[in-house]
């Protein structure tokens, strides 16, 4: 058994032992606030067992292991529906950026440790009402205010902001230069005066994203994490931190086996639907697609193990998996006919086709829309040109609104 296999086995056993306390069944019926409290205990348990900050330096409270161990643990963890999602953004992007770009090391270490233990949560304040994909077009501004800065504007789609203690934010500090050049990166205290968080209810019934308003929010200059005007580079560094994360060829929807079971148990024209060619074709095509993604992931893992850099094809995962899941979920609902109307707000999108279907659009938009991902593949991998951009090279305040 390789070291990694041994690591996987040990992690899987530990996770298994956590199911009765922190698994989906154990948390059924809890309010979000109650669930978050349990989630904080789970995060603390991970920290105590050495499964928090797996690939982070030990000096920050991490385990000092590699990326492979991290992906391996995450892949195992994903099988159980643990409440790790409250900390996903926090530990995925803001905290690593803080470690890399934060100036006051004593402060940084304290924050990292509290975040690892689940005591504090950080959010990422990037998207705005005027633009998500067009990050550099953001309008929230920070103006010099004495020795510090004063922030005014609005962010949106901020995950878990209503429960967050801190956030990292990109704002415009100079509207007189082209859009990428006038941005600066800061951290902010989410409890500071002038910060207002308003949850947004999504189609699936939950409200994990928020609008965040900034009204004369004053911060000192030691909150700054980039040179003035150098914020875009740090924002991009944020997005590049985890190039290979744990993936799911089911697009975070139900496993294909569940569709096969449904097709076996459902009658179509007096026969089991599994005998219907239209259904069989969808099963076959989806299987081939998913096995391709799994093979891409397996190859990336093998390459990392061999000390090589995985190819760019890993970027296909989200694009291909989530939109296929959306269509398959539609078919699964179709298949149930008039029995397909039932809806449960609290059902898991990994187990319930209706929940998978109604939440699929979120998956296709959040963290890079299909269209943005296609642009990235076309431009970064295939060398195709950027779209025509009328705002290119134009000072931000002269871009036609």
């Amino acid at each position: 058994m390789s070291d990694l296999d041994a690591y996987r086995t040990k992690a899987a056993a530990w996770l298994e032992s956590m199911v009765p306390t922190y698994g989906k069944e154990a948390r059924k019926g809890l309010s979000v606030e109650e669930d978050l409290a349990v989630a904080r205990q789970y995060q603390r348990a991970k920290f105590d067992a050495g499964y928090a900050g797996i690939n982070w330096p030990t000096e920050y409270g991490g385990q000092g292991l590699g990326h492979l161990e991290k992906v391996t643990f995450d892949t195992e963890e994903m099988k159980h529906g643990f409440p790790s999602f409250y900390f996903g953004i926090s530990l995925g992007m803001p905290i690593p950026v803080l470690m890399q770009f934060g100036s006051d090391q004593a402060f940084v270490k304290e924050r990292v440790l509290k975040a690892l233990k689940g005591e504090e949560i950080w959010c990422q304040l990037f998207s705005e009402p005027s633009g998500g994909s067009d990050l550099a077009g953001l309008r929230t501004k920070a103006e010099v205010d004495g020795n510090g800065w004063k922030i005014n504007g609005q962010k949106i789609w901020t995950s878990w902001a209503q429960y967050c203690d801190y956030g990292v934010i990109v704002v415009r500090t100079d509207p007189n230069v082209p859009k990428h050049k006038g941005l600066t990166y800061f951290w902010v205290d989410m409890k500071a005066p002038g910060v207002t968080v308003v949850p947004i209810k999504l189609v699936g019934g939950d409200s994990h994203v928020n609008e965040v308003f900034f009204d004369d929010v004053k911060i000192t200059d030691d909150h700054r994490m980039s040179p003035v005007g150098g914020g875009f580079a740090v924002a991009i560094a944020t997005l590049m931190i985890e190039r290979y994360v744990a993936t799911d060829s089911a697009g975070f929807g139900p496993h294909l086996d569940l569709f096969v079971d449904l097709a076996k148990d459902t009658e179509l024209n007096g026969k089991p639907a599994i005998e219907d060619g239209r259904i069989r074709q969808q099963i076959a095509r989806n299987y081939a697609m998913r096995s391709g993604l799994q093979s891409i992931t397996a190859r990336a893992m093998a390459m990392m193990q061999a000390g090589m850099v995985p190819g760019p094809e890993g970027s296909l995962n989200k694009l291909v998996a989530v939109r296929s899941r959306q269509k398959l979920s539609e078919l699964a609902i179709d298949l149930q006919g008039s029995g397909g109307f039932h809806y449960d707000d609290h059902a898991s999108q990994k187990e319930n086709w209706t929940s998978s279907w109604i939440n699929a659009p979120t998956g296709r938009i959040a963290g890079g829309s299909d269209e943005t991902l296609l642009n990235t593949i076309a431009e970064k991998i295939l060398g195709l040109p950027q779209d025509h951009r009328p705002d290119k090279g134009v000072p931000f305040n002269q871009i036609p609104a």
Binding site: L256, V260, K264, I274, R280, Q281, I283, A284, R285, Y287, A288, M289, S291, G292, L293, Q294, S295, I296, A298, R299, A302, M303, A306, M308, E313, L316, L319, V320, E371, L374, N375, I377, A378, E379, I381, L382, G383, L384, P385, Q386, D387, H388
Partner: protein
């Protein structure tokens, strides 16, 4: 088996690409479309000279003892460069059937010739719309074969064929010497595949397997060939994707290169997805030979590779506009090959059924 190519395998990929790009070009392939019975000598001579015919066969019979991974790499390049003859897959399938199910005498008789390329092999399993019929249309009695096999790839030039026959009353896999068999040439949309209807008339045959095992054997051979063909399809799809990309970054319209329009660039990015999924499935399938899930992996590779090649040839032509449909530009060589390879070794419908049967536990 590892899913990462080692140095030797990477060298096979590099060398086959160098050789084929130097020796095969569209100007030699285009005329082959307009006649029946002709293939690209240069391609087949290269295959023999480079040892590709021997690659995946046992050393004891003149082979090189390598496997699906290596032959797959050759096939990938053959797909990129448009192989000029169907024998690499046909001979491989015939040889594997004899190697796996034949007697020592049969192996000694056929394998050295197939390994050197002196003998050309073909596989004749299909009957009309069925890739692997329940009761094949040709019948064996007293070691003699009677009946017609339709649409055999390489059938116009093959010396020997492994035939899936009615044995009688049960399936049988037999080897037929084709020297005295009537071959009716099919005038096809992809003539260098040398498609023929083979008319057997008291043709003497040697039996490899009879009974239920014959069907399993035939499916296994088909799956081995399907993995090779899937590599070839992926290579063809990759070539079409790259041709589309190269055109999109040079051709200008409305004051910019057309690759800057999302309708074009997204189309090509989607092709990248098809190609990489097919490649990943091919690599996986080639590494699963001999494992319980081999047929499933082969089916997945075949399905995604067929989707990739059809999609890439369709969209590449579309992106070229009017030029795409000219005879001279030759994109239709790929369009045609995408369809001919889609049918050889069982079409999408066949492999989808095989796959779903395995997934639902319906397969024996």
């Amino acid at each position: 088996m590892s899913i990462l190519y080692d140095e030797g395998q990477q060298a096979i990929a590099t060398e086959s690409r160098r050789v084929l790009e130097a020796r095969v070009n569209k100007d030699e392939l285009l005329p082959l479309l307009e006649v029946t019975g002709q293939y690209h000598d240069g391609f087949w001579n290269t295959a023999k000279e480079q040892g590709w015919t021997a690659l995946a066969l046992p050393e004891a019979y003149g082979g090189l003892d390598l496997g699906l991974v290596e032959l797959g790499l050759i096939a990938h390049q053959a797909g990129r460069s448009l192989s000029g003859a169907p024998f690499l897959t046909g001979s491989f399938g015939a040889a594997k059937a004899i190697e796996l199910y034949g007697s020592d005498e049969q192996k000694a008789k056929y394998l050295p010739g197939l390994a050197s390329g002196e003998t050309i092999g073909a596989v004749a399993f299909a009957s009309g719309s069925s890739a692997l019929p329940v009761l094949p249309s040709v019948t064996v009695t007293d070691h003699q074969l009677n009946g017609t096999k339709t649409g055999v790839a390489g059938g116009l030039a093959a010396d020997v064929a492994v035939v899936y026959a009615n044995g009688p009353g049960m399936p049988a896999l037999v080897v037929a010497d084709l020297s005295k068999v009537t071959r009716n040439a099919i005038d096809s949309f992809d003539n260098s595949r040398l498609y023929a209807d083979l008319v057997f008339d008291a043709t003497p045959v040697e039996t490899l397997v009879v009974g239920g095992a014959a069907r399993d054997a035939a499916l296994h051979i088909l799956a081995l060939q399907a993995v090779i063909t899937a590599h070839e399809q992926t290579g063809g799809a990759e070539a079409m994707m790259e041709i589309a990309r190269d055109y999109a970054v040079t051709r200008r319209a409305f004051g910019q290169v057309i690759g800057a329009f999302q309708s074009i660039k997204h189309r090509i990015a989607e092709l990248y997805g098809f190609v990489e999924l097919a490649r990943a499935n091919c690599i996986h399938a080639a590494s699963r030979e001999g494992q319980a899930d081999f047929i499933t992996a082969a089916a997945a590779a075949r399905i995604s590779a067929t989707e990739a090649y059809d999609s890439a040839s369709r969209d590449c032509v579309q992106i070229h506009g009017g030029m795409g449909v000219t005879w001279e530009l030759g994109l239709h060589l790929h369009t045609r090959r995408a369809r001919s390879l889609a049918i050889e070794q069982g079409n999408l419908l066949f492999w989808e059924d095989i796959l779903v049967d395995r997934l639902t536990g319906e397969a024996a």
